[in-house]
């Protein structure tokens, strides 16, 4: 075990794999000479040289497409999206090529590609620079989509992503790059498609992923401290596609109540799917509707007070829990 930041965890996973496998390269904007706008790739250029750590022009569609071509040839490129907000310019490459190539080539081609970068808001970047795209990419067969929240998962899931023979959309919690945590040394891979019980509980299941998980843990403390103490189980989904239905269904069979929280917008989202799954598979176990707490149905505003109001907060979640338990707040 060693303590490292979320940022360092990602970097060490990439560095380890680059050491291990010549086929792994990194490309993106300002990841080399500049050191990476979030310093995630800092030092890799010095260590692995310009043929393996490639600064690119501002052409997300072009270099993502080129990385797909490299992957088709058996390389294992890691593309840095400086932020996921810029990936709309690469949507055609990601959705039409990376996700579907294996299928329309009748299995002749595979695309071992990782596309990674910060996702989600919270630092007043306003409308064009604030998106939470788990559902957006999770909709498409052929892609894998993950969203780790702890440094341990950041490293373990990055190792898994790089070795995965499929295109992986790796959504990092941009607001957490600096947060520290224990990370096992060496090659400890965290599998995709397995949710994590971040805290055990009996009365209600709180479901989230990415930086919301930390808020859910705080909320669980609050609830435990209430007069009529509420024991909340917290599930970190971790992986959006493939998705671990079993863990959330089993948790709800136990707690009979669920609140799902996300930063992204409500309509046609991860929370919609979670509610749909639970009513499908735990219909008779649910004592209350699955509650959803999502981002405000508006483009992200700039002003600090408005931005705070646009994202889920602890009070909203506590209120949702109370509704689910038919208690008044």
């Amino acid at each position: 075990m060693s303590v490292m930041t979320y940022r360092e965890a990602l970097r060490s996973a990439m560095a380890d794999e680059m050491e291990r496998d010549e086929a792994v390269v990194v490309l993106g904007e300002d990841i080399g000479v500049y050191g990476g706008t979030h310093l995630v790739t800092d030092g890799l250029l010095e260590k692995f040289g310009p043929k393996r750590v490639m600064d690119t022009p501002i052409a997300e569609g072009g270099f993502t497409g080129a990385a797909i071509g490299m992957a088709m040839m058996g390389m294992r490129p890691i593309v840095e999206m400086m932020t996921w907000n810029f990936s709309f310019q690469a949507a055609d490459q990601i959705i039409q090529n990376a996700a579907k190539l294996r299928y329309f080539s009748g299995g002749q081609v595979s695309v071992p590609l990782v596309i990674r970068g910060p996702n989600g808001g919270g630092v007043q970047l306003s409308a064009q620079h604030t998106h939470s795209l788990e559902g957006f990419y999770g909709h498409f067969p052929g892609l894998k989509v993950v969203s780790p929240v702890t440094p341990e998962d950041a490293k373990g899931m990055m190792l898994t992503a790089i070795r995965d023979p499929n295109p992986v959309i790796f959504l990092e919690a941009g607001a957490l790059y600096g947060t520290k945590g224990e990370v096992p040394d060496g090659e400890v891979l965290v599998p995709f498609g397995k949710a994590r019980i971040a805290r055990e509980g009996r009365d209600v299941t709180l479901i989230g992923y990415g930086r919301q998980v930390n808020m859910l843990l705080r909320v669980a403390d609050t609830l435990a401290g209430e007069e009529e103490s509420i024991s909340a189980e917290v599930v970190d989904l971790r992986s959006i596609r493939p998705f671990d239905e079993q863990t959330i269904v089993e948790s709800v069979r136990k707690t009979h109540r669920a609140v799902v929280v996300q930063e992204q917008w409500r309509w046609y989202s991860v929370a919609s799917e979670v509610a749909a799954i639970l009513q499908e598979q735990a219909f008779d176990d649910l004592d209350a509707p699955v509650e959803r707490v999502s981002g405000a149905e508006v483009p992200a505003p700039y002003a600090r007070n408005l931005e705070i109001a646009a994202f889920p907060n602890e009070k909203q979640i506590v209120d949702a829990v109370h509704r689910a338990l038919y208690r008044k707040s």
């Binding site: 390269v25 043929k51 690119t56 022009p57 052409a59 569609g61 072009g62 270099f63 993502t64 497409g65 080129a66 990385a67 797909i68 071509g69 490299m70 992957a71 088709m72 040839m73 058996g74 390389m75 490129p77 055609d92 490459q93 039409q96 090529n97 190539l101 294996r102 299928y103 329309f104 080539s105 009748g106 299995g107 002749q108 081609v109 595979s110 071992p112 067969p141 052929g142 894998k144 995965d164 023979p165 499929n166 995709f192 498609g193 596609r241 493939p242």
Partner: protein
Amino acid sequence: MSTTKGQSRSRKASSSDDGPVAARARKETPVKTTAPSRNGAEAANLDSEAILDLYRKMNTIRLFEDAAQRGFRTGKVGGYLHLYSGQEAVATGLLAYYKDTDKVITAYRDHAHALLLGSQPTEVMAEIYGKGTGLVKGKGGSMHLFDVENGLWGGYGIVGGHIPLGVGMAYALRYQQTDGIVQLYLGDGAIHNGAFHEAANLAGLWGRDGMNPTLFILENNNYGMGTSVERATIMTDLSAKFDSYGIEHEDVDGMDLFAVLEVAGRAVKRVRETGKPFAIEAMTYRIAPHGAADFLERYRTKEEIAEWRKRDPIGLVEARLLEAGVAEKTLDEIKAEAKAVVDEAVRFAEESPDPPLDELYTDVYADGVMGDG
């Protein structure tokens, strides 16, 4: 000859009203080599046997496309169907220099490329028919032919979308220290798409370090579906657009197999040796509709098509062969053989079974997640 030079010149000339810049840009591009090259064959040092073989291939392609068209008209073939008829000299000449370390990538007008690279005509036709015996198991259809064993890496339906892939593949070929190159085909319509420009800039940039052996082959058949080159851009000297990326380029008469062979030989050698990209603009024409469902063709006249038919690439080779003293009978035999190959392909396709239903769920992921077998 004059017809095409007329055609092609008038096409380039159509930008004469584009103001001085375009005019200058045109002037500045390397000397055009659309003039026929009598000695293209020699340059490509091909003996008449080799030429007869290319002639055979061109005939096979033409008859294959006619057969696919019949399949579509009779409802046996679905989806989209884009025929290569009229453009045979381009891929035939370029792929004559294919080496087994090379990779080929193109758009949806891809039947000829598969046939020329050695895919079985039976499996190509079966794919077009959507049968389980098809080149990609009936999953992709006409637009998505892949035969990676033979160097064909698709087969793509989104205009411009495959271009960045080809440039990345070329990087990989050098990164992996092979001597292969990528033959990257695109149309005149695709050159206006942002994906082309972003990819070409990367090719030029990576080529500076010898890390991008991409041979761009711009098949200028003067139309993107129904939109002619001069209605899509005012700078109609398309190859000159490569100047923005430091990529040298050359034009060629795409109807003349020998002219194509000559340029192709030089270009392939150069790209292989330098690891830098190069571009060829082949002036050609599709005598077929854009797609098999393009019935009206309001965007061009019967006369224009007739003019171009006079310079049918197969006819031109035929004339040259007869001139060179090859017996008419020999050519008839070759045509008959080509027909037999295509008839067999159709029979195979028609008699082949549909893909098994469980194929629906395979090949989604390379590892068996989410119901993938």
